[in-house]
Each structure stands twice: as structure tokens, then as C-alpha cells.
């Protein structure tokens, strides 16, 4: 099966992508979810989440080693045969479709609440969708280079965020430590891993395009980048707990933005949150683009099209329409995200890859590719 996108990326670009992708929308919403489960121990939940996430990434790396030149759709067909493979691939593409619509909703909701309250939300949605579609149509190499260009900006803004907030830290907010208990912390960890790491299953759309002289190093880089992204999010959660306190953190929809509003240096440098919001624009752009990319490429691989760009425009229109209806209101959103989302993403992010890996192992797929080397 010929690959639909001829673009190639190297190991370093993959690391940058994975880093921005795992920070993604996670940093915007997860501190609130963690704090509502584990109160001031939210950061411990985050650390547990990183631990679970590393196991998840390990699973993906094993699956990637087994089928180094196949996308998720290709793996499904190789492992399960044509028809069963197509059914699983269709579910996978439905998942990435839902992912695109919900992430786009998050972005436009964020815009509407904090920046453009009087603009009809569908227009911000269309504007954001246009740059996502542009990136996707230009291909993987362009997105990878964009992410490399954006990384220094992300790091600068993150550095500014941390240094300007340091004077306001109040350590007492995190006491007493480990009050929530083991069960809550584990549940918080599952939520964290589900939001930050399990969506990485959608990166199987681009893993076969990674070309590096040292593939093992590139695979290690995946761990490193995922770890760094998770630590960034945990650190932001910790800042939220330290500065806002667990109560305000769990009540805000976008606690990390509420956090940035607190920046005040000598009553002189204030209200720089609109600049720091660049952090979230960069990471959510990467996340939306890869969900969209994964949706469009998997769908066109199932349909055996000549080029995935055929589907980008109609799919973009559908993405905009469905981003308007996926979450009818905030109550629905919080209920869905806290109750339905964890088992939903575990089914696609853990159960199906494990099944594919085990069946692949029984068929001896790993040995074949090892002997070819």
C-alpha cells in the first residue's frame, strides 16, 4: 500500500511534535479536572498519569517496531484481515473525527470566553479551521517544520510564565499532602493519561513517515518528548494549586488562563495574559491539526484514494458543523469529559493496540521485520 503523503520527518521533528501534541489542550483543561478529583494532590495525580502514560507510549513504540512502515489502518488490515480491519479502521477514524470536533470546540470556546466574546463563535471556528486545513494540505513536512519554528516561542512563553509567577507562590495551598488518598490519585492519573497520552494513538498516521538514521534513538525520543510534555502540564497544575488554590482551580473552566491573569510585577507589568495565550494557540493548533490529519489520512486510506487532500475540504466543513454541536452546554461537556471520556479513550488507546499487538505477535510479525534488518 503506497503511502498517501510522501513527506518525511526526522526523529527530532517527531520529538517536537509529540511534545507540543501532548501539552496540547491538556494544559488548558486538565488542571481543573485533576483538582476536582484529587483537590490539592492534583499534581500527584499528574505524576501517576505520567507513569501510566509512559506505559502507554511503550505500548505504541512496541506496536511501531512491529510494523515500522504501516499506519494504523495498515496495521489493522495486516493483523485482522481486510474486513475486520476495515471495521476497526472506521471506528478509529470516527474517533479522530470526534477528537477533531471536540478540540476545535475547546479552542473556539476559549477564544469566545476570553478574547472575542461578541464575535459569533462560528466565525472564530472557521478562521481556526482554515489554518488547520492549510497546514494539513501542505503536508506533513510543512507541519513538522512549523512545529520546529514554534517550539522556541513556546519555550520562551513558558519560561516567562514560570518566572513571573514565582513571587506569588504560596506553598501552604498544597498542604496537607496526600489527603486525597490512593484511589483518587489513581483515578486522577487515569484522567491525565487519557487526555495527554492516549490520543497519541492518532499519531500512528505519521509514524511510518519518520525517517532517521538511528530509528532506535527516534523511538527513545518519543518517550523523552512525552515525558517533557507531561512534566510541563504537571508543573502548570502545581502552579495553579500553589497560586490559585485547589478550590478556584477546580471551579474554573480554563484554570491555567486564570493563573496567567494573576501575573503582576510591581503593579507595573500586568495583564500580559493575551501574549501568554500564544502558548495555548501553538499547542492547540498542533493538536487539532494532527487529529484532523489522522482523520483525513485514515479515511482516505480506507477508501484507497489517490491523495488524502481530496477529502480535506469536505471534512473541514463537517468538522466545523460538528464542533458547533458536540457539546451543547458546559454541564454536558464536564459530565462527558469526566465520566464517558476515560473508558472511551482507553478502549481506543489501550485495548485495541494491545489486541493488535498480541495478535501480531502470534502471527510473528515482529520477527519478520527484525530478520529483514
Amino acid at each position: 500500500m503506497a503511502l498517501l503523503d510522501n513527506g518525511k520527518i526526522n526523529g527530532r521533528q517527531l520529538m517536537v511534535l509529540v511534545f507540543l501534541y501532548s501539552v496540547g489542550t491538556t494544559v488548558l483543561v486538565i488542571p481543573s479536572g485533576l483538582a476536582s478529583i484529587a483537590k490539592q494532590d492534583a499534581w500527584i495525580g499528574g505524576l501517576v498519569g505520567i507513569l501510566l502514560g509512559m506505559l502507554t507510549v511503550g505500548l505504541y513504540v512496541m506496536l511501531w517496531r512491529m510494523y515500522p512502515d504501516k499506519t494504523f489502518v495498515g496495521i489493522c488490515e495486516a493483523v485482522l484481515g481486510r474486513w475486520a480491519g476495515i471495521i476497526i479502521s472506521l471506528i478509529y477514524s470516527l474517533y479522530s473525527f470526534i477528537g477533531t470536533a471536540t478540540v476545535l470546540f475547546y479552542v473556539t470556546n476559549f477564544f469566545q470566553i476570553h478574547f472575542l466574546p461578541r464575535t459569533p463563535v462560528v466565525f472564530t471556528c472557521i478562521l481556526f479551521a482554515i489554518i488547520v486545513v492549510m497546514g494539513t494540505r501542505m503536508g506533513l513536512e510543512s507541519i513538522a517544520r512549523t512545529s520546529e519554528l514554534m517550539l522556541p516561542w513556546f519555550l520562551i512563553l513558558f519560561f516567562v510564565l514560570v518566572t513571573t509567577l514565582t513571587p506569588q507562590i504560596n506553598i501552604d495551598n498544597m498542604l496537607p499532602i496526600y489527603e486525597a488518598g490512593t484511589k483518587s490519585v489513581i483515578w486522577a492519573g487515569i484522567t491525565f493519561a487519557g487526555t495527554a497520552y492516549m490520543p497519541m494513538v492518532f499519531l500512528f498516521a505519521l509514524l511510518p513517515r519518520v525517517q532517521d538514521r538511528q530509528m532506535n534513538l527516534a523511538r527513545m525520543g518519543l518517550f523523552l518528548a512525552a515525558l517533557a510534555g507531561g512534566l510541563c502540564v504537571v508543573f502548570v497544575t502545581l502552579l495553579c494549586i500553589w497560586i490559585l488554590g485547589p478550590d478556584i482551580t477546580m471551579r474554573s473552566i480554563f484554570p491555567s488562563y486564570a493563573l496567567v491573569k494573576k501575573i503582576s510585577i510591581g503593579n507595573f507589568i500586568q495583564r500580559i495574559e493575551a501574549i501568554l495565550a500564544g502558548l495555548w494557540f501553538i499547542t492547540t493548533y498542533m493538536k487539532t491539526t494532527f487529529y484532523f490529519y489522522s482523520w483525513v489520512t485514515s479515511l482516505s486510506e480506507i477508501l484507497r484514494l489517490n491523495n488524502y487532500r481530496t477529502l480535506t475540504l469536505p471534512c473541514a466543513i463537517m468538522m466545523i458543523i460538528f464542533s458547533q454541536i458536540v457539546y451543547p452546554n458546559v454541564i454536558y461537556m464536564q459530565h462527558w469529559d469526566s465520566i464517558v471520556f476515560p473508558p472511551y479513550i482507553i478502549a481506543m488507546g489501550i485495548v485495541i493496540p494491545v489486541v493488535l499487538w498480541v495478535i501480531g505477535l502470534m502471527r510473528g510479525a515482529g520477527k519478520v521485520s527484525a530478520s529483514q534488518k
Binding site: 484511589k183 481530496t310 475540504l313 469536505p314 466543513i317 463537517m318 460538528f322 469526566s338 471520556f341
Partner: protein, 76 residues
């Protein structure tokens, strides 16, 4: 309302103008594009008139909500 519908038709026409010339060589791609575009247009016309569309998150909730509830109960 009329303006929205006119806008949708203009956008759809624009998409056709961009995409069709490069697809003339590939019949299968061309037909997939036309069908997908018609579905997208129909969906957008329907959503402009505020007809409730099925929400895919509800489908997921049918299967995963009971599992999620029991998971949450286990951990609290």
C-alpha cells in the same frame, strides 16, 4: 437566513473550483470528493436551519457511560 445559505453556496463553489482541476485524472477521487462535498453541504444547510443533528458524543455515551460510572465509583 438567506445570507447564510448564499454564503454556504459560495464557499462550496469555491471548494469545487480549487479542487476539481487536480482531480480530473483520478475518477475515484473525483467521485469521493463530489459525494463528500454534497454530504457536507447538506449538513451545513440543515444546521443553518437549526435542525438538531445527531451528536456522535451521545453514541459514545450509550456504550461508555455505564463503564465510566462504575470506574468512578470504584475509585471514590
Amino acid at each position: 437566513m438567506m445570507w447564510f445559505i448564499a454564503g454556504i453556496i459560495i464557499i462550496v463553489g469555491f471548494c469545487f473550483i480549487i479542487e476539481i482541476p487536480s482531480l480530473m485524472k483520478f475518477k475515484k477521487d473525483l467521485w469521493t470528493f463530489v459525494v463528500a462535498m454534497l454530504v457536507a453541504t447538506a449538513l451545513s444547510l440543515v444546521s443553518v436551519r437549526h435542525v438538531p443533528l445527531p451528536n456522535p458524543l451521545d453514541w459514545a455515551a450509550v456504550i461508555f457511560e455505564p463503564i465510566g460510572e462504575s470506574m468512578k465509583r470504584t475509585f471514590e
